[in-house]
Structures are given as structure tokens and as C-alpha cells.
């Protein structure tokens, strides 16, 4: 019997008053794929950061291949044979594949040797990459392959993959999971952090579920059903909200209107062909598109965050907007929650900032949207992704907007936070807002929307929320 690849035992970690991990344990057997599940903020990422030497635990022990370890940095963990692929890639876009793989190495940079290593890893594992390709020119799936190749180039025998399929198209995700399955043999193992229960059920041998920093389930996956995992994650079975409960057919007056509005970018490339469409009060209009079809421009036109380069966009100034990349477009990580709340409407604000009334407003918004933080003075960067998203929704809906435009609203969120967000969108419709929703998850768009705008090759069509018709239109089929 070989020693477990990775053992974490009784790991405890506090951040101020918040207990992120409360005696959490994890045993990864060699030759297995181990799914690590839990809601946002349940402690999965913290546990893996402890394993990878990025966070020092307050208590508990760590063993790799049977040997006790104490990592003080990620470099120690890499030396011990661990590799981690983060949800947000850590690649240098301007460098080539070879150069990115060589980063973090020691001594002289031998380009030919590293390139040969990249090819050899490709041959051995099927993760093929062109060593001379510049990273910024690679599609997301290839960038992810590169992240894995980087780890393998450092002789990683245990891979930690954090939400690896979140950025991939369904076919690419299936391919990646199949690869994970094939790779995790012998003394190698994979820890798979995911929100996709189907992925976990399909590929993992073992599962560990965290809830509020404690392990609620740790066993072999065989024999488990999705409902068991959900129960372990949430504590109680979640009843799926009825999709059609408050779907409306009668919409109000037009709130958002595009009249031949198109977008041509700074390099003269057409991002969105001239488009005419209307969104009425009290309806949810879904936007469906494959990534990069011009849907980002369409949403920003409707949200009044982008001026059309041709045609007209009739959009009130009171449109709430929840962009996909919240760290970049929605919040200031280095400011506290009160300041981030005040960010909405900052462009039109005059005179003094009334911080005291903002504080009251914040307390109210945090209660109503169940935003969990150590207090109003918490820095935005201290919040988990789900809480940041809830914060942004609370802020955007706080100013009594006439319309709401959201982009990938549930990306990276767990089951409960997702359900929360979808409920808020339906409530916004019921309150008479014109709602526009784009999601990479087509089922989500279909389930929410009264009708769907399909963007393909920069042009827009309006369809009924029919799964098959929308799916065909997205791919440009008649």
C-alpha cells in the first residue's frame, strides 16, 4: 500500500474574526481524481492555498507522499511535486509558450531544451502546444493546457485544478476532464475544485465536501448521487425554483432602444453590425452568443457604457450594469465597501460625499442581499467572489434603476448564490425593470428569458426562448 499523495489534517485558518477553515482534512490517494466541493466561501480555495504553500495555516499538518512538510512558499510546494492551476491564469501574455514554461526555473535559460521539453510533455500527455506561439494569441483552452504543462515541466505529480472548466466551452471541458482521468494513474493524482457537480460525479474517484470550513462529506464517489453532494454542500436539499412561475407575456413600454447602432473598434474592426432592437419594462431579454460574437458590445450599448460608432442608442442614464469581470469593471479592490457603494453615481455626484448616509445604505444593502463581510470598512479584496457579486447586484439595484443589464451573472458562483442571483433578476422583472441577461450557460438564458436576442457574427436576431432554435442560431445555422 503506497502512501497517500497528499494529506491535510486538522487544518485551521482564521482571517481576523472569520474562521475560514475549522479542522479541515483531506486525503488524496495516488492514482485518483479527488473532487473538492463546497459553496463559495466554504474554504476550498483556502485549503488548497494552504496545500500549495501560499497561505500559512494556524494549525494542522500536511504530508506529501507520506513525508511531513511545512511549506513557506509556493516554490517549496512545487519542489515537493505539487502543481496548481488557478482559476485566473498566471501567464505572461507577451511571452511565448517556451518562455512561460521557463519562468520560475533556475540557472541559464536554454530555449531549445525547454522547447524540447514542451514537445516531450505534449507527446507523453497529449497536451500539445506550439512552443513558439505567443501566449496572447492562444485561445483560452490552450492557455489552460499551458498552465498544466508548466506544472508538469516542474515534475508535478499532484495537480490542483481550480475551476478548470469554468472558462472552457462544453466540448473543451469534456476533453480536459477525459485528460485528467487518463493522467491520474500510478503515483499521480489530481485535486479538482469545481462547481459543476456533473463533472465531479463523472470523473472523480473520491470526494471531499466543505461547508463553513468543515468537512461534511469525505468518501468514495461511487454510489453517490447529485442530491447527496448538494445536501453535503448546503446542509439541506435545495428545491429548484420554478422556472416559469412568474414569466410574463405582457411587457410595458420601451425602455432601451437601439436604432441601427453598430460598433467599430479602434483598429477599424467591426465588433457589432448595425442593430435595431427594443427592451421593454417588465421583460427579461436573454442574449445568447458564443464568446466573442459581439455580445459584449451589444450589452454595453444597452447599458449605456459604450457609445455606438454608428446609428443611435436611446438608453436612459439609470441603467444598472453588472459586468462579467467584476474585478476589472465593477469594483475597486483596494477600497472599502462604503467607497465601493459610493462608486455608483460617482460620475454625476456633486459637492460633499455623505459617508454617514452611505454607511446606512450599505448596512441595508448587505442585509437585503446577504453580503457577508467583516463590516462596512472591510476592503473589497477581502470578500469572496460570491459576496462580491451579491454586493455589486445590491449596489446596482439600490438606485432604483429603470433597466438592468447583466453579463454572466452567476459565473463562478455556487448553487445557492446562483439561485439567489436568478431570483433577484426575476424580482427585478416583477418590479417593472427592463432586464437584459447574457450568460455563457445557454440553459440559464433559456430558463430566465421571455425572449432571446441571438448574436452571431456581429448581427442580432430576436427569437422565442426555444433551446434548439436559439442553439442553432448561435452557431449560425438556419
Amino acid at each position: 500500500m503506497t502512501a497517500p499523495a497528499l494529506v491535510l489534517e486538522g487544518i485551521t485558518k482564521r482571517f481576523g474574526a472569520v474562521v475560514a477553515l475549522d479542522g479541515a482534512s483531506l486525503t488524496v490517494r495516488p492514482g485518483t481524481v479527488h473532487a473538492l466541493l463546497g459553496e463559495n466561501g466554504s474554504g476550498k480555495s483556502t485549503l488548497m492555498r494552504v496545500a500549495f504553500g501560499m497561505t500559512a495555516p494556524d494549525g494542522g499538518t500536511l504530508r506529501v507522499g507520506g513525508m511531513p512538510h511545512r511549506f513557506s512558499s509556493a516554490r517549496d510546494a512545487i519542489t515537493a511535486g505539487l502543481g496548481m492551476v488557478h482559476q485566473h491564469f498566471s501567464l505572461v501574455p507577451a511571452l511565448t509558450v517556451t518562455e512561460n514554461v521557463a519562468l520560475g526555473g533556475r540557472g541559464r535559460f536554454n530555449r531549445a531544451a525547454v522547447a524540447a521539453q514542451v514537445r516531450a510533455i505534449g507527446e507523453a500527455t497529449g497536451l500539445h502546444l506550439d512552443p513558439e506561439a505567443v501566449v496572447s494569441s492562444l485561445p483560452v483552452s490552450a492557455q489552460q493546457r499551458l498552465e498544466i504543462v508548466k506544472a508538469l515541466a516542474h515534475q508535478a505529480r499532484l495537480l490542483i485544478l481550480d475551476e478548470p472548466t469554468a472558462v472552457l466551452a462544453p466540448a473543451e471541458a469534456r476533453e480536459l476532464l477525459a485528460w485528467v482521468r487518463r493522467w491520474a494513474v500510478g503515483d499521480r493524482a489530481v485535486v479538482l475544485i469545481t462547481h459543476q457537480l456533473a463533472d465531479a460525479l463523472g470523473v472523480a474517484d473520491d470526494v471531499t465536501v466543505l461547508r463553513h470550513g468543515r468537512v461534511t462529506l469525505a468518501c468514495a464517489m461511487a454510489g453517490l448521487a447529485e442530491a447527496d453532494l448538494v445536501t453535503a454542500m448546503l446542509g439541506a436539499p435545495l428545491t429548484k425554483a420554478s422556472e416559469d412561475a412568474n414569466r410574463r407575456t405582457v411587457a410595458g413600454e420601451v425602455v432601451l432602444r437601439l436604432d441601427g447602432a453598430g460598433v467599430i473598434d479602434g483598429r477599424g474592426v467591426q465588433r457589432l453590425a448595425p442593430t435595431s432592437c427594443e427592451v421593454r419594462a417588465g421583460e427579461i431579454v436573454g442574449v445568447a452568443a458564443v464568446e466573442g460574437s459581439g455580445q459584449a458590445e451589444l450589452l454595453r450599448l444597452l447599458a449605456g457604457r459604450l457609445a455606438p460608432t454608428r446609428g443611435r442608442a436611446e438608453v436612459p442614464t439609470t441603467v444598472a450594469f453588472v459586468p462579467a469581470d467584476r474585478h476589472r469593471d465593477a469594483v475597486v479592490l483596494a477600497m472599502d465597501l462604503v467607497e465601493n457603494l459610493a462608486l455608483a453615481g460617482a460620475g454625476a455626484a456633486r459637492g460633499w460625499m455623505h459617508w454617514d448616509s452611505r454607511r446606512v445604505q450599505l448596512a441595508d444593502a448587505m442585509t437585503r442581499f446577504d453580503v457577508r463581510a467583516s463590516g462596512p470598512d472591510a476592503m473589497m479584496r477581502e470578500l469572496s467572489g460570491g459576496n462580491q457579486q451579491k454586493f455589486v447586484l445590491a449596489r446596482e439595484l439600490g438606485d432604483r434603476p429603470s433597466a438592468l443589464v447583466v453579463e454572466n451573472p452567476t459565473h463562478g458562483l455556487d448553487v445557492r448564490a446562483t439561485e439567489d442571483v436568478l431570483t433577484r433578476l426575476r424580482e427585478a422583472r416583477a418590479a417593472g425593470l427592463a432586464v437584459v441577461v447574457y450568460s455563457e450557460d445557454l440553459d440559464e438564458v433559456i430558463a430566465l428569458s421571455d425572449r432571446v436576442l441571438v448574436v452571431h457574427a456581429g448581427a442580432v436576431r430576436s427569437l422565442a426562448p426555444d433551446r434548439e432554435a436559439v442553439g442553432r442560431a448561435m452557431l449560425g445555422a438556419a
Binding site: T317, V332, L343, A344, A346, A349, G351, W352
Partner: protein, 341 residues
């Protein structure tokens, strides 16, 4: 309270560093440091006439840098903006006679406008053509320096046409003294008021909040705040230049009373250190400007009385900045290690 503690710690650190450097250079540390302290704070007049007079331009340009850096604008052209402000102020002060308050005010306004316009050149280049302001403002420093050299030898040279300097300002164009018998002029009080105003503007007003947001995350400012980020940055840039220009005007109207080629011993560059050491907090800039003013005032005495080249204090200033950067780095690493769930 924390601010005072940090200030005291900074002074002690600066003196310790200086002692180490002096000892390494083979100087008599006690004699040299005694001369330094005497020159900076040995008598009340040393404080008023040397330290605080020196601190005044550092404080005003330090505020200029603070405003620009807070908006994410890396204006390192405060030196050039200061020189242009000084030139315009001297020209205005020599141009007309009238009631003193009016003339002095016009001198200060001329400095503000000239500094603002000089910064506006770089601001327009950035806004229109995307020219990096680090490059453009640095280059404009040289242009300003040579322009000033030409002015004091050409159109603005004193009537006898012997010295490379302008004629001397009349009393009506000079800033009043705060303490009679000393050299401390009203410019220092003005600088203190400006520090307070900038602190309040940044923390309590909508405009100041916009500046901070644009500096911290311009994309979120535009998308979530509907802030015209480039306009805010433009405004902060020009205002920063205006403040630096005002520093030049205050120097002309309060200290030199004439325009010289070397009117600034690099105030605009020291100001970057002053502002960074204060972590871009306007009230802390008061403390760091006085510290640097004291060091430079003391350095003059140290050179005179102990034969130590005054440039050693520049070394101390530089090491202080490096230490602060290192500490910041260490802290943010610790914070990064603490963050994340």
C-alpha cells in the same frame, strides 16, 4: 497620533542613516550631526528661516505630486512646472504696480496658470495621442530649464544686462513675512492651508473621490461609476501642474524676489520623494516636507561647519524612499498571504 509616531520614527531613522554614512566616510559623526541639528533646529530662527522656508516649496510641490499620483497620473514634471510658474510670477511681479494684496495675488495666479499650462502640454499629449506622461513631463523639465536660461539672459534680464537674472521685485509684489525679523513668509501658511484643503477634497468631496477611484481602477470608474476617467485624470494633471507652478511663484515672491536660472535645487524631484514617503496623504506631506526641509537646511550648516558635503542628505533621502518601498512590498505580500478564502 499614529502620524506623529511615524514622523518621530522617520526623523530617528534619517539621523541614524546619516550617522552611519558619516562614519563610513570617516567624518566626525558628533560634530557633523551637531552642526546639522543646529542648522535645522538649533535656534528658533533656524526653524523659521531655514527649515520651514526650505520646506515650503517642497510641501507645495509634494501636494502637486500627491494629487497627480492619486489620480494615477505619473507627473514627474513638477520641476519644469515649478520653473515656468516662477518665470510667469516674476514677469507678473515686474509688470505692474498697485496695491500690494492685488499685486501679490496676481503674482501667485500667474504661477498657477503657467504651471497648469505647462502640465497641460503633457496632459493633452496623453489624452490625444496616448504619450506616456512619464516621458513627456520628464522632457518638458529640460525644455523649461533651457527656456528659463534664455529668459534670464534675454527678455527678462536685469536692466544692467550683466547677471543672468531678472530685476528685483518691489515690496508690493512680495509675500508678507509671518514672523517679523525672520525669513518665514506667508507662503508657508498658504502651503499648510493647501494641505488641509487637499486632504478634505480627496476624502470628503465627490471630485476628490473621483480622483481616487480613477487612480485605483479607471475601468471600474468608467463602467460602474460612469466617471469620465480621462477627463478626471486630465483635470488632476493640470491642477497638479498649477500647484507646482504656485510653488515657483511662492519661491519668487517669498524668498528670491527675482528670477534665477538655478532658482530650484530640484524641488520638483525631491517632492516625489516627499509625497511617496507620506504615502500620498496630504497631511503627512506636511511632516515629510518639513523633515526634508530640515535635512537640507541642516546640510548647509553641516557643510559650512563640519566640512561634510551637503549631498549626503540626498543619499539619506534616497535610502528613506528605498526603505519605504521595501517595507510596503513586504506588507502587501503579507496582506496577499492573509487574503483569499
Amino acid at each position: 497620533m499614529r502620524l506623529a509616531g511615524t514622523a518621530v520614527a522617520l526623523v530617528l531613522l534619517a539621523l541614524t542613516l546619516l550617522a552611519v554614512i558619516l562614519a563610513a566616510g570617516g567624518y566626525d559623526v558628533r560634530v557633523a550631526l551637531a552642526a546639522l541639528v543646529r542648522g535645522a533646529a538649533g535656534t528658533p530662527d533656524a526653524v523659521w528661516s531655514a527649515t520651514l522656508v526650505r520646506a515650503t516649496p517642497l510641501l507645495i510641490t509634494g501636494l502637486a505630486i500627491t494629487l497627480a499620483f492619486r489620480a494615477g497620473v505619473l507627473n514627474i514634471g513638477a520641476e519644469g512646472q515649478l520653473l515656468m510658474g516662477a518665470a510667469a510670477a516674476a514677469a507678473m511681479g515686474l509688470a505692474w504696480h498697485g496695491p500690494a494684496p492685488l499685486v501679490v495675488s496676481s503674482v501667485l495666479v500667474a504661477g498657477l496658470v503657467a504651471g497648469g499650462l505647462w502640465a497641460a502640454v503633457a496632459a493633452v499629449l496623453k489624452l490625444r495621442f496616448g504619450v506616456l506622461e512619464v516621458i513627456s513631463t520628464l522632457m518638458l523639465n529640460f525644455v523649461a530649464q533651457y527656456l528659463l536660461g534664455w529668459l534670464v539672459r534675454g527678455p527678462m534680464q536685469e536692466p544692467s544686462r550683466i547677471y543672468p537674472q531678472s530685476a528685483t521685485l518691489d515690496a508690493v509684489a512680495r509675500l508678507p513675512l509671518v514672523i517679523p525679523g525672520s525669513r518665514l513668509h506667508a507662503g508657508f501658511v498658504l502651503a499648510l492651508v493647501l494641505a488641509g484643503v487637499l486632504a478634505v477634497v480627496l476624502t470628503r468631496t465627490a471630485a476628490g473621490f473621483r480622483v481616487r477611484v480613477v487612480g485605483a481602477n479607471p475601468l471600474a470608474a468608467a463602467s460602474a461609476g460612469r466617471i469620465d476617467a480621462s477627463r478626471v485624470a486630465f483635470g488632476a494633471f493640470v491642477l497638479s501642474g498649477a500647484l507646482a507652478g504656485l510653488a515657483g511663484a511662492v519661491e519668487v515672491a517669498g524668498v528670491t524676489f527675482a528670477l534665477y536660472e538655478n532658482i530650484s535645487p530640484g524641488y520638483g524631484f525631491s517632492a516625489i520623494a516627499v509625497a511617496l514617503l507620506a504615502r500620498l496623504h496630504p497631511l503627512a506631506v506636511v511632516a515629510t516636507a518639513i523633515l526634508f526641509g530640515a535635512l537640507e537646511a541642516g546640510a548647509v550648516a553641516m557643510q559650512r561647519d563640519a566640512g561634510v558635503p551637503s549631498v549626503v542628505v540626498n543619499v539619506v533621502e534616497a535610502v528613506l524612499i528605498l526603505l519605504m518601498v521595501a517595507v510596503d512590498r513586504w506588507r502587501s505580500r503579507r496582506m496577499a498571504a492573509q487574503a483569499g478564502t
